[in-house]
Symmetry: C2
């Protein structure tokens, strides 16, 4: 049973604290002590559970990527048509659970640091490849060969750009609105195909 119950609880607490602390202070300057304080723990305990600051950051990013993956798979299961499944990918990216100020901040920090940390770069590649595969699969049925890659890249860049812009704003985000706009943009691009 709960052989590692406390361990799991602390992992979760510390990762949540990391998300909040990085959002508040920035990846570059946040300290172990600040993260620990956010979780009501001590800096030493972070090293006890994660080994180092870098490994904590990696675990935090892994968590976000898992959430995104789950959100996509959830929506995929109920979507019937290629068009529905394409929209499912967009909806997942802007789901209420994911598209928050805190998580937008972390994503930006992730993007900014991935080029300088092998472990983060790897996570980024894996995630990017998965999203691309989904897009490609669904677009196959929706647009002609010669436009498919252009459209796929445009959609991917659009989504990244929305996250980027959201991270600059301190006003609370509106995921429902973001989903609506993403659908509009996608349909706008698809329409010129039919």
């Amino acid at each position: 049973m709960g052989r590692t119950r406390i361990r799991d609880i602390r992992h979760e607490e510390l990762i949540n604290a990391t998300i909040t602390a990085v959002h508040k202070r920035g990846y570059a300057v946040v300290t172990m002590a600040e993260i620990a304080a956010e979780a009501g723990a001590s800096a030493a305990s972070i090293n006890y559970y994660f080994g180092s600051k870098e490994k904590l950051m990696e675990a935090t990013m892994r968590r976000l990527l898992t959430l995104l993956k789950q959100a996509m798979l959830e929506r995929y299961s109920t979507a019937k048509t290629p068009h529905d499944r394409l929209m499912a990918v967009l909806d997942a990216n802007f789901s209420d659970r994911l598209f928050t100020n805190e998580q937008c901040s972390i994503w930006i920090q992730f993007w900014a640091n991935a080029p300088y940390a092998e472990s983060l770069q790897r996570l980024h590649r894996i995630n990017r490849a998965r999203v691309n595969a989904h897009f490609r699969a669904e677009l196959r049925a929706l647009v002609s060969d010669d436009r498919r890659e252009t459209l796929r890249e445009a959609l991917q860049c659009y989504m990244d750009g929305v996250w980027l812009e959201a991270a600059q704003s301190s006003a609370p985000l509106n995921p429902a609105q973001a989903r609506k706009e993403a659908r509009e943009v996608a349909d706008l691009m698809l329409k010129s195909e039919s």
Copy 2:
């Protein structure tokens, strides 16, 4: 005359060194000593000319924003139609001079740090407002009222996303290709209007 000749030369050298050093090591971890070494100077001289690391970073970002502004104005002057001027904005963003690995890296670092530094945030707002104004002005003649804002935001996010993705790749960028794709994407979105 050259009352401040050396001062200007050093400013330029140090800003260029900053761009290179940040690209190589990341904003978060690059040291004054590394930047100085890149310029063949000493860390102390950076403080002599810029006052602090933060002010150096601000000056560096200001330089990039100026380059972008110039590139836009240059292309604007020769464009005749609204469509041409819209493309001019895209072309400026992906011009040979700007769309380089080094500068992409800096932009990402800029985006990641703007939320945590008032001075950077200000620069970001100013730049964003200018690009938006250009887009809005040209789109007025090209698309209907109800779709204009969606399209503008989509284009803006697309551009940001392309920069973001470019910063993740270590392969040399292809500005001409980026311009071509941006034009395709823009036309794709405009087409469904006509």
